[in-house]
């Protein structure tokens, strides 16, 4: 018998994936890549038109995808989101926290950051993933398998000027998943943080408008790397933080 994949699922099954931030950038690319590999994906984002376009693209190539419009920073949105997603694709096998916000643009230093703006970044990048994980992981625990992925950033490790709220939220997200991994260590439910490196996305352009795009990785390439990781039989310890790229170059 083949050893189980990182997500606990055999390569030929159709795992149910719930992915936030699915309308653009890496989220859209990863949703499409996982659907191409047979997963049933539910994509979540605030922007309905963009999200529907991504789902239509996946369906046009024979993939299974559903669009649910929600703001992950809204406490009231979480249980409706999980309920609807689970009704559509069954109990969630893989949960991907990709949605995040930088806060007001252009990025400003901490002394110029309004407390409310800092709070909003934490709502979307930290509290949303906490609430969503809490609503999904109990069912994974009963089934003894499942994977929760958080998209992180090198701003979670390094204190870059101007990236305060975002960096703090990502450091906290890493630690949230690390702690959850420790609590559910032998349960079969796994938690990973992935730092995808610098990518050519709208978010990157928002943060660093002057960046040389030719040095940035394409989200589609990074999505393939992450999908490979999810399907791999490698034994990355639960709670790990995986750095996919160094300084914009896919490693």
């Amino acid at each position: 018998m083949q050893s189980p994949t990182l997500s606990g699922f055999e390569p030929d099954t159709h795992p149910a994936v719930l992915l936030t931030g699915g309308s653009r950038g890496l989220g859209a690319a990863l949703g499409s890549e996982l659907a191409r590999r047979g997963a049933q994906v539910v994509l979540v984002a605030r922007g309905e038109a963009e999200l529907r376009a991504v789902v239509a693209g996946i369906r046009a190539t024979g993939g299974v995808a559903h669009a649910l419009v929600a703001d992950i920073g809204d406490k009231e949105a979480i249980y409706p989101l999980v309920g609807a997603a689970t009704a559509l694709v069954g109990p969630i096998d893989v949960l991907v926290h990709d949605a995040s916000t930088l806060g007001p643009l252009p990025l400003g230093e901490l002394l110029d950051t309004e407390c409310e703006d800092f709070g909003r970044v934490l709502d979307v990048n930290l509290l949303g993933p906490f609430r969503l994980t809490k609503a999904v992981v109990g069912s994974m625990l009963l089934r003894g398998r499942g994977l929760v992925l958080g998209l992180s950033s090198d701003a979670a490790v390094n204190g870059y000027p101007g990236w305060g709220a975002y960096g703090v939220s990502k450091a906290a997200l890493d630690h949230l998943l690390r702690t959850w991994a420790a609590e559910l260590d032998t349960s079969g439910v796994r938690f990973l943080s992935i730092d995808p490196g610098d990518m050519d996305t709208q978010m990157h352009a928002d943060a660093i408008p002057a960046a040389d795009r030719s040095t940035l990785a394409s989200p589609a390439d990074v999505a393939i790397r992450i999908a490979d990781l999810i399907q791999s039989q490698t034994s990355i310890a639960t709670g790990s933080r995986v750095e996919l790229a160094i300084r914009g170059r896919v490693a």
Binding site: H66, G83, G138, L142
Partner: protein, 351 residues
């Protein structure tokens, strides 16, 4: 029995009245004692159905109506093929709010086949059938399906409310820790008390934990003729892993403990349809757990505290001799046990 007025913050902080049908004894305990009453190799089975926002307010040509979804598909044990998520069995309720007891509500307007109910600009339903037993029991077809339907249902609906509580319930109040597919129209309440710490304690004790999904139905309709039919046929799904876990436990003389009436209904209903053997997969059961019912799969049950006469209470008769159950009812009432959803618990299990 006194009702709880609000869901407690610490779910597992409930009292547990342990009834031992073997020696006819009862003991006052707390739920955290559950692992000590079980043996390594025993198996606890929970219902992992999430609770739907089953209460919807709509308008019709004849006036406003409250609709409570009773289950997806048609209310017939013969129709276990669900081809579209847009067909639902539902019960109509008259005017009123959550503070009014269901039985005190006025009769709802009478709808006929072909009538439409508007819930929101983007959610309508057509009545496709009206029951001959009660005009309140109808079959609806929503005007959308898939993600559009589910998003609209979750936006428009809210969980079924209980008049004995001090405030309206939000969706998160009525979810168990392990809620997955939203099949239950009322909360599978016994499992609500299990928290992560208790599940860990059970595992550390060597007790297995398995699940079924059972579409727990409405507990009351306000119409005696319809209430007499309850529970309506309900969908269930028994995972293969659960069938294997039960067989393994029984092979080693482990006991099977159902958490809640709905688990009893799913497992015993499944066994009743397959010559006393469990078969993995989905089904629909109309099994009634009344007097004379003999459990084939389940050895014990953890349930909420229920008043005599309710179907939950009647179920206990299958596990506890009448005199002990009568004594336990008296004991619970005189010792301040809390009843109904979110209340205290009762374990019927021989040691």
């Amino acid at each position: 029995m006194t009702a709880t007025v609000w869901p407690r913050a610490r779910r597992a902080q409930a009292r547990m009245l342990h009834l031992d049908p073997g020696c006819g004894s009862m003991r006052d305990l707390h739920l955290d004692a559950l692992p000590t009453l079980l043996q390594p190799g025993d198996l606890v089975v929970v219902n992992d159905a999430a609770t739907l926002p089953a209460e919807l307010r709509g308008t019709t040509a004849q006036g406003p109506v409250e609709v409570r979804l009773a289950g997806m598909g048609a209310a017939s044990p013969a129709s276990d093929e669900i081809t579209s998520d847009s067909i639902w069995t539902a019960v109509l309720f008259g005017a009123g709010n959550w503070r009014m007891r269901t039985e005190d509500r006025p009769s709802p307007i009478v709808l006929a086949r072909g009538d439409t109910i508007a819930f929101a600009a983007d959610l309508h339903a057509t009545v496709v059938r009206v029951s001959s037993v009660s005009p309140r029991l109808v079959q609806l077809r929503f005007d959308r399906e898939g993600a559009a339907l589910w998003a609209a249902l979750y936006r428009v609906g809210r969980p079924v409310q209980y008049s004995y509580l001090c405030a309206p319930l939000a969706l998160w109040h009525v979810q168990t820790l392990f809620a997955a597919r939203p099949w239950a129209v009322e909360m599978p309440s016994a499992g609500w008390s299990l928290d992560a710490h208790l599940l860990r304690s059970l595992r550390q004790r060597g007790v297995g934990i398995a699940s079924v999904t059972h579409a727990a139905g409405l507990s009351s309709t306000g119409d005696p003729a319809l209430d007499a039919l309850l529970p309506l046929p309900e969908r269930f799904d028994v995972p293969e892993a659960t069938v294997r876990a039960i067989e393994r436990a029984r092979a080693h003389r482990g006991r099977i403990v159902a958490v809640g009436t709905t688990v009893v209904r799913a497992l015993e209903g499944c066994a009743a349809q397959n010559g006393c053997r469990l078969r993995p997969g989905p089904g629909v059961t109309d099994l009634r757990l009344g007097p004379g019912f003999v459990p084939r799969v389940i050895d014990g049950v953890l349930t909420g505290m229920h008043d005599p006469g309710t179907s939950h209470f009647v179920l206990l008769r299958a596990f506890v001799p009448g005199p002990l159950l009568d004594a336990a009812t008296h004991h619970a009432e005189t010792n301040g046990y809390r009843g109904h959803e979110f209340g205290d618990t009762c374990l019927a299990l021989a040691e």
